[in-house]
């Protein structure tokens, strides 16, 4: 570990009514590193991310940020800490255009009035950096965008800000080849700038290409959190599908600690 984790969760439990989705999950994120969060469909990755973002309240467990216990009761709290998240279910306002969505909640103003021009310029720059070439106009409603275009807008929205932690929930799922490469490069660049980045993905190639650390969830339990360099491709797949691989995984006493 280069330095202490910037964000750390301990013993997180989360149920939806009768269904317990997260069991005693520990998870930590370090600045300057890309942490990949992997797991099967329905393992609880998105739920964990939503708990971090304050979308879902946590049933029990500790939430530490920069070593201090914090209470995150809503997205505003998370944003104030400097945690920026791209959710899997994008959550864009269909009735707003691209620029409006990208600056939502953090509009640039000059005086009372919105500074549309500055926002439009900044949006154009950010999108261009993500290899978006088919968007006809920045003043298009996001409802008329293709799946990949929407995804790009959501990513651009999150990386516009100077945050300390960036979490991307399956950011490349809908992206084309070139765009995927751009996003991965962006992820790496953010980490190199000293940010802590969490990347959720089902694509092992992508995971191994950019991540420093891999955390594997299995049926709502943290199976292992290890250095990417210390595991192989097939070991991770095994962790994902069966929760254990060799001496890694649930029931081997290593579990959540890395």
């Amino acid at each position: 570990m280069s330095q202490g984790p910037i964000l750390e969760l301990r013993g997180i439990n989360k149920s939806f009514g009768p269904v317990q989705v997260l069991h005693d999950v520990a998870f930590s994120v370090h600045p300057g590193e890309v942490t990949a969060l992997v797991g099967d469909n329905g393992a609880g990755k998105s739920t964990l991310v939503k708990c971090i973002g304050g979308i879902h309240p946590i049933d029990s467990g500790e939430y530490l940020f920069e070593g201090e216990r914090v209470h995150v009761s809503g997205p505003r709290d998370a944003a104030e800490l400097g945690v920026e998240i791209v959710y899997q279910d994008l959550a864009l306002c269909d009735n707003l255009d691209i620029v409006q969505n990208m600056f939502l909640g953090r509009e640039r103003k000059s005086g009372l009035v919105l500074d549309e021009d500055t926002m439009e310029e900044m949006a154009a720059k950010t999108l261009a950096g993500l290899s978006v070439r088919t968007v006809k106009s920045l003043r298009q409603h996001v409802s008329s965008l293709s799946g990949g275009q929407r995804q790009t807008v959501a990513i651009a929205k999150a990386v516009l800000w100077n945050s300390k932690v960036v979490i991307l929930d399956e950011p490349t799922a809908a992206l084309g080849v070139a765009q995927t490469a751009q996003v991965l490069e962006l992820v790496r660049r953010l980490a190199d700038r000293g940010l802590a980045v969490v990347l959720i993905s089902h694509n092992m190639n992508d995971v191994f290409a950019v991540s420093d650390r891999i955390a594997a969830l299995y049926l709502g339990r943290m199976a292992a959190q290890v250095k990417a360099s210390e595991v192989t491709h097939s070991q991770v797949v095994e962790l994902i599908t069966s929760g254990r691989s060799g001496e890694l995984g649930i029931g081997n006493g290593i579990g959540a600690a890395s």
Binding site: L92, L104, R106, E107, L114
Partner: protein, 413 residues
């Protein structure tokens, strides 16, 4: 052709042609904006004018404004609540409560008009605060909260005006709001200033955008817009400045005071909705409350504020209604006021599902409702027939609107 089309590059050929073509194509593509409502309005006016030539008289034209003012103002406030996908059934009677407060303070307590008007407006805001808090904080559906308020306010008005009597208003200033006119000269001056200000604003904005290399409207388009505004406003002011008294003794001319009042409110709320972060957040919450929440917007506060604005505007509507009626009675704000106000907003193009609507919708829709009422008044039908015909005409106006939207939407989705 369409290789890399990020906005910048369009800048080069910001010729008039492309702009106009773009507009036509946007219209054909279903972005109709105010067109259908305007279209419906024109058809209505033509029909009434043909059936009853007096419809077109200067007197009737002036009447139209005072007749529609209260509903349009209430509708303007409702737009905010509707934009969130909520409803306020109590807006009508809230206006009644505020009017009653005004009347009690003026007539029974003898307060000066400015204090009474201010108190009435504060009453409106407080009502909105309570309603909004119940909806946002307790999570009771707004339909139920405002239905309860609808009943309760009805009672409050009754209690304030003491069961069935009514309170006359004799304060000249308050009476002037809906009954007096702006001096003709002042009307002309205000119009000129307004048009000039609009032109200046457009020019400055276009300059600034062009300087930054963003797409800007070409000069000719700006000139056309300014000219259109000047012609419409000028014609209206000219019409309203004609003598419309039928006796030689009194002179009756000038723009009714409610007209500048509505124009000012329209400008304020349009500015709030289109140019401020607050307005943006209203649309965001209405479009996708969860997305707005995740973007860090305080959704509860937005909800509450929308109800505050709605009830506040209702209070202004109530004051106008009280002024027009020279009195307040237990029915002020009752009858069809609420349905007409919501109907005005919807006809104007506001969606009941939230996220779509403009302050202008209230005025356009309010105009449709006012024209129907006004025109029907000239026809002289008996009670039953009048209801039936009014309903049919309303349907017709909305049908024109819906069909024109549908037609152009067929090209898109």
């Amino acid at each position: 052709m369409t290789t890399e089309t990020l906005p910048k590059q369009e800048n080069a050929d910001s010729a008039i042609g492309s702009h106009v073509k773009g507009y036509i194509e946007r219209v054909r593509g279903g972005e109709l904006g105010a067109l259908p409502a305007v279209f419906g309005l024109i058809i209505l006016c033509v029909v009434f004018a043909v059936l009853r030539p007096s419809f077109l008289s200067a007197l009737n034209f002036a009447n139209l404004f005072t007749q529609g003012a209260a509903v349009a103002v209430i509708a303007m406030g409702l737009i905010f609540v509707l934009l969130l996908g909520e409803i306020d059934l109590s807006a009508g009677f809230a206006s009644g409560v505020c009017a009653a407060v005004l009347a009690v303070l003026l007539t029974f307590q003898g307060w000066p008009w400015y204090l009474a008007v201010l108190t009435a407006m504060v009453t409106g805001a407080v009502i909105g605060l309570v309603l909004g808090s119940l909806v946002a904080k307790l999570g009771i559906p707004s339909f139920v909260v405002t239905l309860a308020a609808f009943l309760a306010f009805q009672g409050v008005v009754l209690l304030l005006v003491k069961n069935g009597t009514n309170i006359s208003i004799r304060d000249e200033t308050v009476l002037a709001i809906a009954n007096k006119n702006v001096p003709p000269a002042a009307g002309w001056i205000a119009t000129a200033v307004g048009v000039a200000a609009y032109a200046a604003l457009q020019l400055v904005q276009a300059r600034r955008r062009a300087a930054r290399g963003l797409v800007a409207a070409p000069m000719a388009v700006i000139a056309a817009r300014v000219a259109a505004l000047a012609v419409i406003a000028g014609a209206a002011v000219y019409m309203l400045n004609l003598e419309r008294s039928r006796t030689a003794i009194v002179s009756l001319k000038g723009v009714p005071i409610v007209v500048p009042l509505i124009v000012i409110l329209l400008i304020i709320w349009t500015f709030v909705l289109r140019r401020t972060a607050y307005g943006r957040h209203i649309y965001a919450v209405g479009g996708n409350a969860e997305a707005a929440r995740r973007a860090g917007i305080n959704v509860d506060r937005i909800r509450i504020s929308a109800f505050v604005i709605c009830s506040f505007m209702a209070s202004i509507g109530g004051i106008i209604a009280a002024s027009r009626a020279n009195s307040v009675d237990p029915n002020t704000g009752g009858s069809n006021v609420l349905l007409f106000a919501v109907g005005a907003a919807v006809i104007g193009g506001t969606s009941l599902f939230g996220g779509k609507g403009r302050a202008l919708d209230a005025v356009l829709g309010g105009a449709v409702v006012a024209v129907i009422e006004n025109g029907m008044g000239l026809m002289g039908y008996s009670a039953g027939v009048k209801f039936v015909v009014t309903g049919s005409v309303l349907l017709l106006a909305a049908g024109v609107d819906a069909l024109s939207r549908k037609r152009s939407a067929a090209t898109g989705r």
